[in-house]
């Protein structure tokens, strides 16, 4: 079953007088349980592409479907709801909230839910990424790898069907990267989650089902 269906997507950036075409007609689809990496030189449009799939940004033309639902023309409110329910994000800089403990950070995307099981689920997710003994630690008390694993746990709290990672190993040493990538493989396999990881790191491709090249706004595979 297709988790993501992207059809003929372009993205234009307007800077002053100039129009810059960052994505030049992209077709792409991804099945559930599939783990792909997107590689390509800096400035080729990888983050732009990921943000469009993740409903953080809108394409100039073309359409995006998630789980068979066209999400191109949604209002900000609906888009946010879909994003919350279907997508988990992992960033290069982790982006944890410094005032919250590891567990609170994991609970954050579900903070307005009345669901009582969220707390135990947060603990369970942290235990699964090997941080069962770091629940009360704040981000500044965690190492880079530990922070990224908290971020992974956070991205999974709402049981997303799609995981989007922008340079997830960019700030990690190779050993820690391996742990994180092992976790990705397990999530894709065991939980049937579609994962896209944007990366410069060739190590990542060893873990993925396929690798896609993005060059100058076009996909080449």
């Amino acid at each position: 079953m297709t988790a993501i269906e992207v059809t003929n997507v372009t993205k234009e950036y307007q800077t002053g007088e100039e129009t810059f075409l960052a994505l030049k007609g992209i077709d792409f689809s991804l099945a559930r349980g599939e783990f792909v990496s997107i590689m390509g030189p800096s400035g080729s449009g990888k983050s732009t592409f990921l943000n469009i799939i993740g409903l953080l940004d809108q394409p100039t033309t073309g359409s995006v479907s998630l789980d068979g639902q066209d999400v191109t023309e949604l209002t900000d409110r609906r888009r946010t709801t879909v994003r919350k329910q279907t997508i988990g994000f992992i960033f290069q800089d982790f982006f944890l909230i410094p005032t919250l403990s590891a567990k609170e950070n994991v609970e954050l995307p579900a903070i307005y839910e009345i669901d009582e099981t969220i707390r135990s689920r947060a603990t369970m997710l942290l235990e699964r990424v090997g941080l069962g003994n770091r629940l009360k630690h704040h981000p500044d008390q965690l190492s880079g790898g530990q922070k990224q694993r908290v971020a992974i746990a956070r991205s999974l709290i709402n049981s997303p069907r799609i995981l989007l990672a922008d340079e997830p190993t960019g700030n990690l040493d190779s050993e820690t990267s391996e742990q994180v990538l092992d976790e990705f493989t397990r999530i894709a396999r065991d939980e049937n989650v579609a994962i896209i990881a944007v990366t410069h790191d060739p190590q990542v491709t060893e873990y993925t089902d396929r690798t896609i090249e993005l060059r100058d706004g076009r996909l080449t595979s």
Binding site: R77, T80, F91, I97, I111
Partner: protein, 376 residues
Amino acid sequence: MNFGFLDERFPSFKLARRNLTRTPLRSGLAALGIVIGVVAIASLGMFATSLQVNAEDVTSETNSQVSVNPGPAARDGRLSERDVQDVGRAVPGATVIPQKQIQVPVSAGRDNSLERASVVGVERPDAYLEASEGQVPASFQSGVLVDSLIAETLEVEVGERVEIDGRSTRVRAVVDGGGFSANLYVPIQTVEADGYSSVIVIPPETQTANETATTIRERLNVREERVQVPNPDLLSGLISGFFDILRGFLTAIGSISLIVAGVSILNVMLMSTIERRQEIGVLRAVGFQRRDILKILLSESMLLGVIGGLVGAVVSIVVSLGVNYYLVDDAMLTFHPRNLGVLVIAFVFGIVTSIGSGLYPAWKAANEQPVEALRS
């Protein structure tokens, strides 16, 4: 402090609280602005209350009396024997006290004298005067009663002598003439004057002073204006009107400091939303709606306002206790019902100011595109 319950019920409150405690000094200073504003408004307002209560004390006694004065039609500008009788007939059951007032020099000892003092001849001083020292005689044949103001000015006490227009006489009592009165009261037969300068009427139980005044005017001024009888509550009406204006004016002055506080909150919230731009982008990315962001940021400015307002209210009460203790000799005047209103208004102003100042930064942060915020 344990906010567990609130945190669980209101996640926005929890995030807001954590954000404020992240930069305690900055938050403290922003709240301090509100404290100062609230204290300014509240203590100025409460100060007006103290003044007002003081003034009302002074006027309340004259409120229960009606003063009948000669009208334009009165002969020689004095009231006649017939006028006095008619006043008595107009209000059966009232106590009618005719007065003969003259302005003459008075002195006590060698050092204290007044060039012109108001000397009032009266027959039954016990009907409307109360002694704070000595005794007010029922049958007034000799001696003098002085208002406390006069007693202070001339530095005389009961038993000592004062000279009125050259005639020496003994002080029998210091009285509280009510209001700002500064009179010396002497037996009426000792005042050489035709007619009466005024008549004091103490209304019967069945009538208010205002009704009595109206009755007298209606009965005596049928053909011509024989008497002038001001409504006793006119003065207190004027006074309370004046104090309402004064309070409004002082509140307005206090509000200026709140505006300054508002600007400082605006500044703090703008700074903090700019610093937290990425963080807010993350919140949006993980599914926080625009209104959730708005809620969190408004909770922050509201919290600043509530804390500032509460501290401000407490400080104002302490200040007012002091002011009232030293100025009016009655610290408990602080808890006058009117002050409750003043405190509530100051507190509400404080909160409204903080929320108002937080509105723009919150709106700005909530409406930013998540991609833009994350990129920074």
